[in-house]
Symmetry: C3
Subunit: 381 residues, 3 copies
Amino acid sequence: MTLTQLPADAAERQLRPAAATDARDEVPTLGYPNYWYPAAPSNAVGKQPLAIKLLGENIVLFRSNGRVYALEDRCAHRGTPLSIGKVRFPGTITCAYHGWTFDATGQCVAALTEGPHSALPGKACIGSYPVEERANIVWVFIGDIEPPPVETDIPEDLFTDEDLVFPVVSTWRANWRLAIENVADPSHAPYMHRTALRFLFVKYRAYSRIQATDNERGDGFFINPGPVELERAGTEFPGVGRYPERIWWRRMSFPLKRTMNNGSQSELRLPGCLRTNNVYWFFLQWSVPVDAATSRQFIWVLRPQAAHGLKAVWWQAYWHLFYRFLMDQFIDQDRVVVEAQETNGAFALPEKLSVNDTGVIRWRRLAARARGSRVRPDGVE
Amino acid sequence: MTLTQLPADAAERQLRPAAATDARDEVPTLGYPNYWYPAAPSNAVGKQPLAIKLLGENIVLFRSNGRVYALEDRCAHRGTPLSIGKVRFPGTITCAYHGWTFDATGQCVAALTEGPHSALPGKACIGSYPVEERANIVWVFIGDIEPPPVETDIPEDLFTDEDLVFPVVSTWRANWRLAIENVADPSHAPYMHRTALRFLFVKYRAYSRIQATDNERGDGFFINPGPVELERAGTEFPGVGRYPERIWWRRMSFPLKRTMNNGSQSELRLPGCLRTNNVYWFFLQWSVPVDAATSRQFIWVLRPQAAHGLKAVWWQAYWHLFYRFLMDQFIDQDRVVVEAQETNGAFALPEKLSVNDTGVIRWRRLAARARGSRVRPDGVE
Amino acid sequence: MTLTQLPADAAERQLRPAAATDARDEVPTLGYPNYWYPAAPSNAVGKQPLAIKLLGENIVLFRSNGRVYALEDRCAHRGTPLSIGKVRFPGTITCAYHGWTFDATGQCVAALTEGPHSALPGKACIGSYPVEERANIVWVFIGDIEPPPVETDIPEDLFTDEDLVFPVVSTWRANWRLAIENVADPSHAPYMHRTALRFLFVKYRAYSRIQATDNERGDGFFINPGPVELERAGTEFPGVGRYPERIWWRRMSFPLKRTMNNGSQSELRLPGCLRTNNVYWFFLQWSVPVDAATSRQFIWVLRPQAAHGLKAVWWQAYWHLFYRFLMDQFIDQDRVVVEAQETNGAFALPEKLSVNDTGVIRWRRLAARARGSRVRPDGVE
């Protein structure tokens, strides 16, 4: 069955999921608590405290004796951010204002301006966050339950000995829900990314019928662009005209044809991470809520089976001298449209979902399956 | 009767209109719906979509095959502004995100990423606006009634074969109500504009008694600066001092004396357009609401009877090489004071209207006569 | 008794004042009315009107015939700020818009655009403020009671014939309550200001036990850093480490030792002015509320007994060529931490006061003793 042979009423039936639009508001503005989140690249966290914001919470990260610490970014005393303080003693951070010093658990262990015999230590504390370092990323657990092992939440692809991993971090002036719905929706690619430099010489599919199925873990779904329809320039759209235009230098049929023939697909998991591969490259994109109007995208580009030998040298050079510029331009296309949606207040405006929004709809429905959620359809926590 | 002979009690009586202050709040913050508004100069609207805002509404303008279109600036799908999209097919605009394509009526006529057989066309739509092009301006009708012919709302002076027309557009960081009240109030001119370069060599009246009468159309009023009192330097203001200072190089008595002797006056009409002439030049100023804190002034400067022959060459040069700089400085004097009022929250502060505010008071009372208003004193719609 | 010999339970008892935290909200966001406030340096107020904001009120200052005037910064007519106007006649200010002219009492005394026979003068007015000039500062009284003589509220130290006075004005992007609590709390100095260039060669006390006693006037309290404990590098803080580090070039024991031995101390008075001396220098800092998120610090640095002769020459040079840069850096350390507190929303966050916050606690309790306050513990006002 090709897409063009779908009976009209079947297409019609598929339009119905649009009714699920309401689930849009069940996705929390500041993200899902009770998950591990990528907080910063490891090399950004040193002895100099680093202020970050995750799910609306102000957090200070610092490193001492090789270990990373994550505390509430607020001195218990009078609210000064600890991130303007200093790591003065091992495993602690000292406030810039009065020298109150907090350990990994957030306990005040010294009040320098009160002297060594101060009665304060043990009587004041701030919040602390479970924190781990894996795959050159500092991970922080936000939530109020006992955190699972960090490996539970990190995409398994990052625990690689064989692949080269290139991280890209991008801050968008848009709520994370707009960013993640962009990721949950591969149907924009053949239109919006058609002009990406990555695809300059590539015959790209003109349109698609998105297909999705739940994953086995119950925390996400697989999604793929459906039957591959290679670009056939000049298809007639009734009453409108021909699309897309034929471009003589577009001759390559990869990566999509081969990718699809290899059965590749994407998987989107709670709390908001997409894994996708296309034979030659593997991508991960994690949309991290910062505050109501800001999100940060942690993106990993993996070159499989290229971690060793001459291959590693070649692909490192390929990435740093060439491919990362293409990826930056590609990611920026998403950023521009998502920030424009934010400016337009798109998440609150009326919307009209369609057959190709099955990923968006499934994504929203995951709200009921989020970890720690009170309402779980299956009764399981 | 000269102004100086007005009996004190008559002046006292004239102070009473100040009670009408309350009508201030009847003028809507975002302007009067159900009128045609100047939206953009014609030459600013091309194939590249243009985002504008009128009366708080986000609108995208674009031109295709010579005609101009005005649509709601929001894709029906997921709220992306269409103004970052593209005119891809004649008479339509295509969203940058998924290629949803909308025609002049706002109907979705294609969903490029769903292919030519998508069931979507005809099932999604956005708002569209009546739009016309006249006198090198794109006019958009905002409202919910059947729009009258655009000529009803365009000042007749713009349909000219004989006059040279020079348009000036200026965006002010102030609500339109402050901008239009500046226009409804000619009494500020002899004080505030006394320093305008236009009047550098001109004897300007020192003060005035504003006079106003309703117009025949019932949608506005005529207003003039009252009996002309040429600048008499050094008039004694009791208990204060002499004003204005005598400036030896101010010798010309035009334009005001001649203008007034010719019976010229201004007319302010709903929804907010002033026409004023002074024999040699003719001015129109339309204050257009953008959002709560922004307005745009469409100003037309006309040189009557100068559209043809050598006269046209001369006055074109005069304008472009000289006079428009004087007009810019003149308009900027208004902008500065109106933006300062906005910053001060002037429209909500207590006020004290006086005899010379008859224009402001009449302007506010027009609220009851606005097109489509439920309350019309004459019972006519 | 040295600090290290304080019995643990005594220290414990001293922790109790932390319960007074609640008084935090009794200090008004925009400051205490019914006091004279420093508004601007005298040399900043000339014929050109100056817009300032005090306790959230917009005020225009101007000078005419040597006297300074303070009026509400709003024309009675239609809300234009008078600060964009002009001093046109002696002892009055004229609005830029229509030439309405107001005298020292805020009465409209002329409406230039209505001519010399206008009925308006005497029928419109704006607010005016008691204003005085003393010690090269313009003082404005904000409140609704009969103002006391300005000398009541000006620190007596400014009426000096013997001392050199160097004023410093600094605007902080933080509410005044954070600024004044910084001033009420000398305990931050030995930690935060340890790195001030002023103390580069000075052995500074490492910690202190703040002591405070009410002043005789009943409008403030004396506060001092307690028994002087000279820096003893390498004190062991249990479980944490040694502090502070020994710095070989820190050899001077002044100013603190000598200062303390002379019994010097600081005094903080309503509505928010600290006086402090250290034998060689005398400091005043007045935290003035501007708006909810801004305050202005008026700081005076006095060199006692140096107003005359060669001493004056020497200390003028010392200040202008050297010491004011040290003071700027010193003040900036406070500004940075206070602005960081504001950004963190510190005043609303939970806090944990301690023994050394006795100044902060006493400061907050003064709320009940503020002039014109309805609640006065002594029943007087």
